[in-house]
Amino acid sequence: MRKAFVKKLTELVSNNKNLYLLTGDLGFSVFDEFKEQFPDNFINMGVSEANMIGVAAGMAMRGKQVFVYSIIPFVTFRVLEQIRNDLCLQNLPVKIIGVGEGITYGTSGPTHHAIEDIGVMSSLPNLTVISPGDPIEVEKLVEQSLYLDAPCYIRLGKTGEEIINSQDVSLKIGKGNVIKEGKDIAIISTGNMLSSAIKVSMEFEKENVSSMVISLHTIKPLDETLLKEVSEKVKYIFVIEEHISSCGLGGKISFYYSQQNINVRMKCIGLPDDFIKFVGKQDFLRMKYGLDVDGIKKSIISFINSKK
């Protein structure tokens, strides 16, 4: 995903000298091409994220299109008030790019995990929150973010995320991406859980369970039209995410259905309200928390059985 972001950004800046990338001293070597070709548009702000957000705000006040980049905790939690006051309150269209969604940086430990950022960031007025499902979604949504008149936060994985979408897929910020139609269950995923969602769906297909798969890449604003359709179409809804469920996409969707008085049979499959308690790589940690394909499948079966 990171590569897809850098490639798209390099392409965008080649036609738009008003675009700037500010990094908090991270992304070593990945921006080499960008930096060499467009040195005026690349600024390493150093290890000073609070300042980086304020500087981005100041530049955006003058009409610059600014992307700020760092690992998620450093460009969200650490600078929350700068994002709130400088970007959201003043409604300045800065793009916050965070790398390392969920437990991408598994072995780095909890300081580097990003399992609460959806909750924290989507609580801010004016901020669009985007969590692309694959590198194609990254490219298309990053490009569209240039046309937003307000700030946005785009959370990315890092490397190795499978390509799910075709290059010509039509995507829109705020509109869920229906990857596959189905009539029994719907699996709604956000971010890097998309490939697992597809795999789980294929497993169910083998057992003649028809499953719809949606990449809900925009968490805020939620695609309420699609969610309503889904509630009318399938018997069960499962929301999967590499994030604490209660404050993540699952929590947002639950809130929507309850406010609209829509009765659904829905289960959130994500992380508990806790820091990660194990040391290990992403795959290992997913398994520990039931977020591997097998674990997700078991949760779904168990939920369906409990409702029979």
Partner: protein, 272 residues
């Protein structure tokens, strides 16, 4: 404008502040009185601004980073013709247009939303840096408080400003030696303030923040050094102009009672 007229403007602004704070019952009058003379000089003698064209791309920018003194900013903007005086009457009133802390473009001339300390200078660096990128000659002025220098983001921004050689950026420190809880120098060594900023690559001048001519001379010599950001440490008195309020921390919190307003106005006129 001659000195007498500028002093008259400062007096008028202070009168308005007394009215605004007594009517609204809101705090921070001491902080606002502290920066009146600085604002008078900036808005009447220094800033390249046009009240009739407040969003002009090449205008100088002024950010009040110590947002709690916004009443003084509103008073000078109104006085300078950015908006009608009637708006000042709605200061912090239900349904009014201006809050205790300023919001960007809530009224023409307010460039940034501030109120949480340590935000103004990073934004100022961004504005000044983008001005350099576009080869524009406007300047960006950021007024911060001495207590605000305890915020880490101020120093992050100070590093950036000197690194980018922002000689189009000016910080003014309102050094009234009071912060919300006690004397500023109980928390930080103010004698070192100048050398700290210089160590961060800024060119510094100290001035009496109530000496109109001294302020004019100082601001007219900007940039103090080529390719360096400039900092003006203005020695001020919290509550300046109203004898009962001068250098008294309690006026960070208290507001003048309506029944005392005449007493304070008389005190103000006597001292000016």
């Amino acid at each position: 404008m001659d000195l007498k007229d500028l002093k008259e403007i400062s007096l008028k602004m202070r009168e308005r502040l007394l009215t605004m704070h007594s009517k609204s019952g809101e705090s921070h009058i001491g902080s606002s009185l502290s920066i009146v003379d600085i604002l008078t000089v900036l808005y009447y003698e220094i800033l390249n601004i046009d009240p009739l064209n407040p969003y002009c791309e090449t205008r100088d920018r002024f950010i009040l980073s110590k947002g709690h003194a916004a009443s003084a900013l509103y008073a000078v903007l109104s006085q300078r013709g950015f908006f009608k005086k009637e708006i000042l009457d709605s200061f912090a009133e239900n349904g009014g247009e201006i809050s205790v802390h300023p919001e960007r473009f809530s009224v023409p001339g307010v460039e940034a939303s501030t109120g949480s300390l340590g935000h103004g200078l990073p934004m100022g660096v961004g504005i000044a840096l983008s001005g350099k990128k576009d080869n524009l000659n406007f300047r960006t002025y950021v007024l911060i408080s001495d207590g605000e220098c305890e915020e880490g983001s101020v120093w992050e921004a100070a590093i950036s400003a000197s690194r980018f050689k922002l000689d189009n950026l000016i910080v003014i420190i309102d050094e009234n030696r009071w912060q919300a809880y006690e004397r500023t120098d109980k928390i930080q060594n103010l004698e070192l303030l100048k050398s700290k900023w210089e160590a961060f690559g800024w060119s510094c001048k100290e001035v009496n923040g109530h000496d109109i001519q001294g302020l004019i001379n100082t601001f007219k010599s900007i940039p103090f050094e080529i390719e360096k950001p400039s900092i003006v440490i203005a020695k001020t008195i919290k509550g300046k102009g109203v004898q009962e309020m001068e250098d008294k921390m309690e006026w960070h919190y208290k507001s003048p009672k309506l029944e005392d307003i005449e007493k304070f106005l008389n005190s103000l006129r006597k001292s000016s």
